[in-house]
Amino acid sequence: MWKSNEDEECGIVAPLLTAYVESALPPVMTASVKAHLETCANCREEKKRIEAVLCELRSLSLLCERAPGEAVVGNLLREAEKACGGKGFFKRIMPRAPESAAVISLCRKLGAAAACLSIAFGGMIYFHLSKNNISGELVSADSQSSEVVSLKSANCYPYSVLSESENTFLNGDAAQAMKHIYTLKN
């Protein structure tokens, strides 16, 4: 697997020795390095030196609590919030967050659509009312009497219609009562 020249082999294996010692090499490379170490005294010595330095480093890294205090973290979060509050660079480089701008744009579109629908709906109601109420006359739902009630007549509308429908309503026929009130003449 390795070239026959021993120095060349060492040149390839040596940079991998630290990872080998730390069991961090892929299996194939591990096997190759292991095979080389069995035959090469120089690399075995190098491996021992590396183990010693790593041991030294690790003895220094294991002695302390590894997290900052909550007070420090709290301070930093406050600083971050302050920076986002608009006093820092945010206003200069990006007056509005892209996400916020997208939300606002969406709201504007929804608002415009709602306004269009309102106008259309209002127009339809107006058209419907004007079509059915063009004579300005309202009749009672009581088709038998076919009594024409002028809208302009304060004596007849709405009180006369209401009293009639009220009786119907009190008799329990709500649907009929509503017809009495608001059926319009064609």
Binding site: P15, L16, K48, R49, V53, S61, V72, L76, F90, A97
Partner: protein, 190 residues
């Protein structure tokens, strides 16, 4: 799906402090561990930690979204730690205390009642040595041995091929061993 560091950073730059909150949670332990390796008192370590993340806040606008956030952050960590070390070096009288510290290093910390003090001095000397290593070798050693990242992760953070990272680590340790008193003292070769 979990947001990437870069997405969180963009959100933070756009005015959402929540992005910074998550990034701080993700990186506070590895960053703190690296600073601890300098061998300073906890109070100083916390000051340095704060200094680093304040730089992140203040320099956020300069963050290049195409770059890895971790790479950018650990560059700040590295620069700040080296600055702190140099600042301290000028403030302290290393020449006077150095020889004594070296003598004490010859004693194993387990046998010494002042083990923590000795370890502290060894860390300081370690950083003296790390400071003269090439940046990338120092970064690999710190990320691997103190921040606890895997080689794959380091390869991603530093945007270097895995085999190059192996090589960086090996060269870094070799130079460390040659110049770091702590490294020399305990090496026993057959």
């Amino acid at each position: 799906m979990e947001k990437t560091d870069e997405q969180l950073m963009r959100e933070f730059v756009a005015g959402d402090p929540g992005g910074f909150d998550v990034l701080l949670e993700r990186y506070r332990r590895p960053v703190f561990s690296i600073i601890l390796s300098m061998g300073r008192d906890r109070e100083i370590v916390e000051d340095v930690f704060q200094e680093i993340f304040l730089k992140v806040i203040k320099k956020a606008e300069t963050f290049d979204g195409e770059r890895r956030f971790a790479s950018w952050l650990f560059k700040i960590v590295d620069n700040t730690c080296i600055d702190v070390m140099r600042r301290d070096k000028t403030a302290r009288r290393w020449n006077a205390g150095g020889e004594e510290a070296l003598n004490r290093l010859a004693v194993s910390p387990e046998a010494n009642p002042d083990a923590e003090l000795v370890a502290k001095e060894r860390r300081e000397l370690l950083w003296e040595t790390l400071a003269v290593l090439p940046d990338v070798q120092r970064s690999v050693i710190l990320l691997r041995e103190f921040a606890g990242y895997s080689y794959d992760e380091i390869s991603g953070i530093l945007s270097r091929p895995l085999n190059t990272v192996f090589s960086d680590m090996h060269r870094g340790l070799k130079r460390l061993r040659e110049t770091w008193p702590g490294g020399q003292i305990h090496v026993e070769v057959e």
